[in-house]
Symmetry: C2
Subunit: 348 residues, 2 copies
Amino acid sequence: MSSTPNATTVAVDAMGGDFGPEVTVPAAIEFLLKPHNKDHRIILVGLEEPIQTVLRTHGAKELLDSKRLAIHGASEVVAMDESPALALKRKKDSSMRVAINLVKEGVAQAAVSAGNTGALMATARFVLKTIKGIDRPAIISTMPCLDTSQTLHMLDLGANVDSTPEMLVQFAIMGSVLTRYVDKKESPRVALLNVGAEEIKGSEKVKMASQLLNESPLNYVGYIEADEIFNGKVDVIVCDGFEGNVALKASEGTAKMIMKVLKEEFKRNALTKLAGACAAPVFRSIQSRLDPRSHNGASLIGLNGIVVKSHGGTDQVGFEYAIQEARQQASRNVIGHISQEIEKVYSI
Amino acid sequence: MSSTPNATTVAVDAMGGDFGPEVTVPAAIEFLLKPHNKDHRIILVGLEEPIQTVLRTHGAKELLDSKRLAIHGASEVVAMDESPALALKRKKDSSMRVAINLVKEGVAQAAVSAGNTGALMATARFVLKTIKGIDRPAIISTMPCLDTSQTLHMLDLGANVDSTPEMLVQFAIMGSVLTRYVDKKESPRVALLNVGAEEIKGSEKVKMASQLLNESPLNYVGYIEADEIFNGKVDVIVCDGFEGNVALKASEGTAKMIMKVLKEEFKRNALTKLAGACAAPVFRSIQSRLDPRSHNGASLIGLNGIVVKSHGGTDQVGFEYAIQEARQQASRNVIGHISQEIEKVYSI
């Protein structure tokens, strides 16, 4: 076991996601084999047999011997379509629950799961509780930007509806901290999602949150409209979970529609087929840029422990990104910085 | 002047939009020259001189002589970026205001403007007032669908934020009536925009509206997620103006981003340029399909008079669509049917 001060142990829910160990285990191995991750460890949590089966085919003996890779048994698995409430109540030995327990116990500094989002949120909230000063955890993710050199975090993407202006301010603090310490941006520009059409002055909630943010030490730059999300003018976009989910899903639905129509049109005749062939790599790059989850997974932020949610249908590369994201948040003490920022804001 | 029972007079704000008479006047002439519009009339409202100038270049003498085309002077113009409140207060003789007055006076059965949306909404609301039983007017528009044979209406797209469950039910009634009588669909499927992620049960407002809609005589089919908007599974999508605006703008922003990236990629080398050349018509068709306003403009619905808002940057064809939409809503007595439906719903 590594004793480097900065060493991080990530608990991986090996059973979560559409593919389970077939994706999570190779991703964990790939992560550990990267030179810059040599100090870090992973604990694979789940049913020993299927995990072992995949491990054997990937020859991870050295990692296991060096204890950089370990298995922690868990006898249950939360189904992707299982009710969060029931999963929380009945599956106390699920791979998801046990992985989060390891974070609570300090055995691991972060947990990663590609499992049922609702169950993950319910379990993480129940086990880890929220950071002092944070009312509710939020789901935060990077969003695609026109300029790929840009990164943008948006929250809440669906954990909370009917959130209060105070909660929006807390989201702003958390997004700002994550952006500052993970993306290394000195003073992240924070914007509130609002409707800019002249006929609208914005909801009462947003107007009140804007007032609070103006009085805060955050680098609050004002309102942003949904059609401006992707142009990288700001670093953090804050919104209620309902609106965040609508923006994300509308964007995904539009992208899917355009891609589908494009493919149809390019299949039309020989010339368009040729065009389509030339364009294939273009479509691939765009599709990956348009899936926010393919960047590094979404995170549940605001809890006393780091929990990263990988897209359920992601592949090995996507899941490794999620592990990397979890590792970074832990190494850079995002939770500690959120607590400090909360105190700073509320002491004003 | 035509005396056919079904004859409709549309008041056109000739000065509105980014191009004013240069677009609105030819569009009006084109509309009147269509055989199926032979019974209908248009009143061009605005500054006589610029209107006359365009009329002369288009030789509309016959239409003017037959009184199917008339000019109604208005001495002021509302700027695209003017404050709605100030426009309402100070410009009592604006082309927009006078066109709406003609509807109020019964001289015209519908008004069309490509002008300042906020000012149009404020003016229309002030002059026409809402239909009995409707608390607030809404902005309704068709949305693009993957299957172009489908039409879908969505409201509210931005007139009201913080709307109540009762208002959402009123939106549902109005959208259902418009779809039934304009799109000729017997029993339009009405859905409520909601967030479907497991971690969310939906906002209190949406849950209450869903209950009310279940008890209504409308063909309410339940919740729909934003990524399902474009697949044509329902005929009417109801939401608060904040969420509707976010969905619309996020969708437009995504489409713009994809198109921009595609164009960049296709410019990369000779081969991709060839591909791009072949693909050009594809892009054009997609872009037009992705601008909901290019279908037939958005309508302000719920007022004692028909007001259609054309996209400010639209061309002659787009503006003619908007006139056509206004004419249809008038001919098919959408307002009368809304009143009847309101009584039906509230008498239950």
